[in-house]
Subunit: 211 residues, 4 copies
DNA sequence: TATGAATGAGTCTTCATTCAT
DNA sequence: GATGAATGAAGACTCATTCAT
């Protein structure tokens, strides 16, 4: 019953052990977020998964919400980073292929993020705090749309795209992608393969619309 | 221990009073659905809001879930009905105006439905039961998309639209609308007016893409 | 919603209809007692089974307990009556056969009564009120034991049984029967056939003990 | 909202305090079992009686059922142990005295166990789980009957009992004892003294029956 | 007198949070 | 700092009983 050391922190060499435990809790919570809706994750689940006692979390976070928020931010950043890293370079391949690639990246992103986001809409407080955090950072959603705009304008500069307003492309593409990703969750018989296949004609239509 | 008469049922003239309370409960629950995520609505909240005792709901529904389901179905039908009633006739006005009108209706629909739908993703059982109910009815989501297709084909017959495949239009339009509706929830400072304004160039781009 | 006649009372010709409904409730409740433990029978179950409204029972009984008590008394009397009617006559067949017959009747009685009695021990109030009722009547359990005594003394008078004290026979027989009946409920693998078969050697032992 | 230390655990010196509370809960529940039928014991009653908060029981048991089961097993073992410890040795005193002693022990056992056992018949799940537990242990009911058989055969070997089949003795004795124990519950005015007094002639009759 | 909807106390169970050790 | 048992407010649901009609 006397205080014991946390068992499973491990701690990367050179890290402050206290910080290490904090990070460990966030990691573990982030992991749980992919498997269950927030409301179904209990503090005990987290403690068990982290192989740590029930009470520790309160040594590092004000409450459960604060921990979950930290995990959500981390999750968002991981997904956003992966998305950014997969973006094509202007001038390479064909414009259509590149836009399809961009859309595919978005689908992957949404596909993973949607369940979590959906679960979040259930917790307005958490949700708005997450938005605040996320918009503060350099990987904000706004910048994701802007990035597509940058790419398109670069292609216009390279003469591979007519010089018209490219703003609607963002909305059209994001939207189509969202429909596709959502459909795979909503449809009575999810058929993501077919929907993904539908991506190319959609991109083609958008590109024709730019002409 | 001392039963009393229900206080707030009121009852529309000519209604079966028993049915009246059942409807009252559904009404009240539907109302609560707009203000709070499903998981945050307790049976007590419902009873309080209905000014009725804690146990009544079980006189009319098997379950909290059954009541909530009834309220969701009602909500869906109300929104879908409003949407259908706002649809333009082929041949009237301009095609672009009509599609913008269609999209506006969708935005209104999604705007109200999204929080509820999102909250539903957390409750798979309820969600699938709602889908079953909703697909059984005449206002099913499928028919909503089909309706746009019908309209576009009618305009093709009238010669106001080129005779190409109109399928992508559905996805593009639904998607853009979803983005716009979602943005109003995600953005730190929702600016729906501006987003709605962006609708016309988007529709224009889609129409050009059909040419 | 206006008062209606009870639907399913039927009423034997010439009966006071009010009494008829009272009896009907008792009948129905008695029926339910064979199928479920008392604590699992709700007033609603009774009303449903009687095809009568939820509240009627309170027009004829102080509360649920009073109705159930009436049903228990009726049940007891029915079983006891059946038992009495199956008793052998002194002088007929053989003494051993007659005692076996007596024991068989007891087994049948206990077999039906045990679940109900067991369920009763859960409700001390009800239980003691039932005992009071039952001991007041002419079919009291005491008289059941006495009846065996009467039979045995009659056989002694007929010279078919040695003239010793027959009092222990009652306890021995009732007890063995109880063990047999109970075993069929308690045993992990009830094997009533085998136990019933064991009856004859037991009776033989008892008779030898009387010599 | 404001957790406090458990008040009444006390803890026997040297015990693991966690185990102490678990045991305390079982003790308290066992105590309640003697005073009230299982179905009338609420989790709150237990918590109150243990002077502990409503939720603790779920820190140690899956279920109310699990706790009650533990208490029942304990109760059974306590009673069975007492019974075994009171059994006579073959060869000592007289055979009749010894069998009377055996029967007295059984009466004591049944007297305490009957109300609980009866209440159990109402809860089939609990009942079968208890049987499983109890049959697994070394104090199983089967061994109780076997024990009497062992004793009688030992007396036969010592020449103090005729060498006939002793099987019926078990049923006869157990049964008579059951009748006596039951009578003390069924009779309007329990008169256990008188009934116990009736034991000797019964045993005498049984022994004569063996000759 | 019969109806049956309404009542609400009471049941079991969960879980974020605290705090003595 | 770490522990993890204890807390107790809630939550969904049941059901004997009442009473306006």
């Amino acid at each position: 019953m006397s205080p014991r050391r946390a068992k499973a922190v491990g701690g990367r060499v050179g890290d402050d052990p206290a910080t290490a435990l904090r990070e460990h809790l966030v990691d573990v919570t982030e992991g749980l977020l992919s498997h269950a809706p927030i409301s179904a994750i209990t503090t005990r689940d987290i403690a068990r998964a982290a192989e740590v006692s029930d009470g520790v979390l309160y040594n590092y976070f004000d409450d459960k919400t604060a921990l979950v928020l930290a995990a959500l931010v981390r999750r968002y950043q991981r997904l956003a980073r992966r998305f950014y890293d997969s973006l094509p370079e202007a001038g390479s391949a064909t414009v259509e292929d590149n836009i399809v690639a961009f859309a595919s990246g978005l689908i992957d992103l949404l596909d993973e993020a949607l369940p979590t986001v959906a679960g979040l809409l259930t917790e307005p407080v958490l949700f708005h705090r997450l938005l605040d955090e996320v918009h503060r950072g350099e990987l904000s959603p706004q910048r994701m749309q802007a990035r597509l705009g940058d790419y398109l304008r670069e292609e216009q500069r390279l003469g591979r795209l007519p010089k018209v307003d490219v703003a609607p492309v963002g909305t059209l593409l994001m939207g189509s992608v969202a429909v596709i990703a959502l459909s795979s969750h909503f449809a009575p018989m999810p058929n993501r393969a077919a929907l993904s296949a539908g991506l190319r004609p959609i991109v083609a239509t958008i590109l024709r619309g730019l002409a």
